[in-house]
Amino acid sequence: MPLPPSALAAHRHRIYGYALRLLRDQQEAADVTQDVLIRLWRHGDGIAPERRAAWVMRVTRNASLDALRARQSRTRYIVSHDDIDQSILSNGHSPVAATESADFRALLDRAIDDLEEPYRSIVVLREIEELPYQDIADVMDLPLNTVKVYLHRGRRRLREALTACLSAEELQP
């Protein structure tokens, strides 16, 4: 039995937000969001409600990676299968510059985008989407302890990135 549209609405923001973090393109994120919502409509009734968030994020991740591979195919950028996650998800932005913006939130947003995978995804899933550790492990297909180690590294890299562009006064407690 398909899920009613009202049950889909609860997941729309997390799907779109995560897809946008991975794809950095609003149109592609919108396309992935629609596809994932339709899959959730078809299959969501067979998934326990407490498991739907993890299921949705996993499907979103896979769909976004597919979209990135398709984008690369269109631009004839060939990568090896082993490197595909890293190369297609690597950030092409320049390092965060302290002079670009004094807004902490904007700097944090940019610093998250600058993180490499899988740290970026794990930080987003834990710190923004507030998924439990085991759900993140299921989404990323990683052992639970690996998720915790990667989260620790991701948090540290965020702090290092922000420290590099905030003044000493702004860093004082």
Partner: protein, 161 residues
Amino acid sequence: MISTAHPDLDAYLDGAMTDAERHAIEAHLASCDACAAELALAERISEEMPALRGQCPDDVFDAAVARIARLERDRAPIRASRLRWAAVAAAVAVIGVAGLQLLQGLSSDRYSPEEVAEARQQIELAFGLVGKATGEASTYIRFEVFPDQLTEPRDRRVDIE
């Protein structure tokens, strides 16, 4: 300049420490400006994170709902056809069972041979009609319910599975 993060800083932020460990960290923070600054930064990051949650535009969600509505409409005729087929099959089964029970009843001694012969003729006529209905149902199923699967696939957008 901020030093390397204290290895227990994240555990402290997550509340994943014993009371003794927490007291030790807090004593350290009281005397280490660098670690205190890093903890303040980590707490500030944690406070700002929820505000960075993505916001799906209304038109994106509305477009998904519209596509779902179209998919629902495409599915409805097939569901109705299958319900009709199920009703036909149920009717055939009921008639078949009733006919068999009648034939068994006719073997008793309560009826004359002429009555039995006439009844058998009527039952055979009924079974003939059932057979015709079954054949028509089979044709209906083949060409109306599953025309695409049994002949050529319909030209439609392939949804992601």
